[in-house]
């Protein structure tokens, strides 16, 4: 069964870095440019994202995630460039459509925010196993119920997807049309989704009983099957990033107050 997680262990250093360090990196990659507020800060962090992904041999897969959002970024450029309320200075025109500098600069800013966010998140998403993140959270004091929810989602979805393809085949063999006009496709949605949803809800009852029998509600402290192998430099990296965020926040406050 195919997992929905994008994690692949490619043996690079990035896969061994603690998920919390990566979360800290995401926080600083989003907060620092936001506090500085100018485009070069985004450029620096986008470059940093690319370097990290490149050294973790994951840039190629991250590219797929970014390409996905390029269409919406393009529409932002078109709509802002043409119609933004602050548009004054025309830059160029294609036929009757005139693009303005102010709107395009705003769109560039939004585009940078989105790409920086996607890339910094992809560092975590591509190189950390969801189950590991759940385990680490539990080890650091989160409720075991919480980590059950996370790891369970990843086992339930492939199961539901296989039910989904079974039901699609069954309904198609009974003559249901899944292509054609919008109303036809709308009508196909109900006989497809209802059986999948109902059966997965009915399954929860048995799962609940099975978990209860295995002591899920026990208040005893759990032990772990897979201990986390510590990576050198996790603490140092987290501290450096924390200092950077605090320093920019202080700088920002200082420029506002002085």
């Amino acid at each position: 069964m195919k997992s929905i997680s994008l994690y692949r262990d490619n043996g690079t250093w990035l896969c061994r870095v603690h998920p919390f360090t990566k979360l800290m990196y995401i926080a600083s990659a989003i907060l620092v440019p936001l506090l500085i507020g100018s485009l070069w800060a985004y450029a620096v962090f986008i470059a940093l994202d690319v370097i990290i992904l490149l050294s973790g041999k994951s840039l190629k897969r991250a590219r797929g995630l970014v390409i996905f959002s390029l269409t919406i970024i393009l529409t932002i450029f078109i709509i802002r460039g043409l119609f933004d309320e602050d548009n004054i200075t025309p830059l160029f025109s294609i036929g009757p459509a005139v693009f303005y500098v102010e709107g395009l600069m705003k769109a560039l800013h939004t585009g940078c925010v989105i790409i920086n966010m996607l890339l910094s998140f992809s560092i975590l998403v591509l190189t950390s196993k969801p189950e590991d993140i759940a385990d680490e959270m539990e080890r650091h004091g989160f409720s075991p119920r919480f980590s059950y929810v996370i790891s369970s989602v990843f086992s339930i979805i492939p199961q539901m997807m296989s039910t989904m393809s079974t039901i699609t085949d069954a309904q198609k063999s009974r003559g249901m049309e899944t292509e054609g006009s919008l109303s036809k496709r709308m009508k196909a949605f109900i006989p497809l989704i209802t059986p999948v949803v109902t059966s997965s809800l009915i399954n929860t009852r048995e799962r609940a009983i099975a978990l209860e029998v295995r002591g899920f509600s026990s208040a005893k402290k759990r032990t772990f099957l897979n201990p986390w192998k510590k990576h050198r430099g996790d603490a140092a990296m987290t501290i450096i990033m924390l200092i950077t965020v605090i320093a920019t926040a202080i700088w920002r406050l200082a420029t506002w107050l002085l």
Partner: protein, 202 residues
């Protein structure tokens, strides 16, 4: 069921197991909508089911956990921002369901309008902050572009964009939820009844 404790929530195993199932249902809904090329999201079916069965708190948890898990693991980090929207959808649908507004088809439509209102009110500011007002849905963004071209204020164009997408989406979602809940066997739904009382023999 007394109206006093609409927020009362059971945190037993059955409810905890319900959360990942609902998150999975959200995912499947989105997948089917994409497979059938429907111009809607339909990614909150599970959240609404969770809200109807488990109440407002579970609905909110389902919604928020849904976006957080997908955002942090499938690379779709944009959805993270909308965790807030999902949380409020789940929460308000839960309140409506506990007040008996999922009992008939007409009332379910009313619930769907409440869910759509919650989604619109929370999403529009988020859209403006992060996307400059767009939603990423073709139809909605066409309306947005038209409204901007008519030099309407940004928030109004963005609101129109959201309304065009969210109202039909939530109406269809809750009609589906209504059909599904009717089809569920009683032995399952009784697990989540909050008004139940255990009779003790000792």
């Amino acid at each position: 069921m007394s109206d006093k404790n609409i927020f009362r929530t059971k945190f037993d195993v059955a409810t905890i197991v319900l959360i990942p199932a609902c998150i999975g249902i959200n995912y499947i809904g989105k997948l089917f909508a994409a497979a059938l090329k429907l111009p809607l999201w339909l990614d909150s079916i599970g959240t609404c089911i969770g809200a109807c069965l488990g109440g407002p708190v579970i609905g909110g948890i389902c919604g928020a956990a849904n976006n957080l898990i997908y955002g942090l693991t499938t690379g779709d980090s944009i959805t993270l921002i909308y965790a807030l929207t999902s949380l409020f959808i789940g929460f308000f649908v839960g309140i409506m369901a506990r007040c008996g507004f999922m009992k008939s088809f007409g009332k379910a439509i009313l619930t769907s309008l409440v869910a759509a209102a919650a989604a619109i009110v929370v999403s529009t500011p988020l859209n403006i902050i992060f996307w400059g007002g767009q939603t990423g849905n073709v139809w909605g963004d066409a309306v947005f572009a038209a409204a901007q071209a008519a030099s309407l204020p940004l928030w109004l164009s963005s609101l129109a964009d959201e309304i065009i997408v969210d109202v039909p989406d939530k109406i269809i979602t809750l009609i589906l939820v209504y059909i599904i809940l009717k089809a569920l066997p009683d032995k399952l739904t009784t697990l989540y009844e909050e008004g139940d009382r255990i009779e003790r023999l000792d």
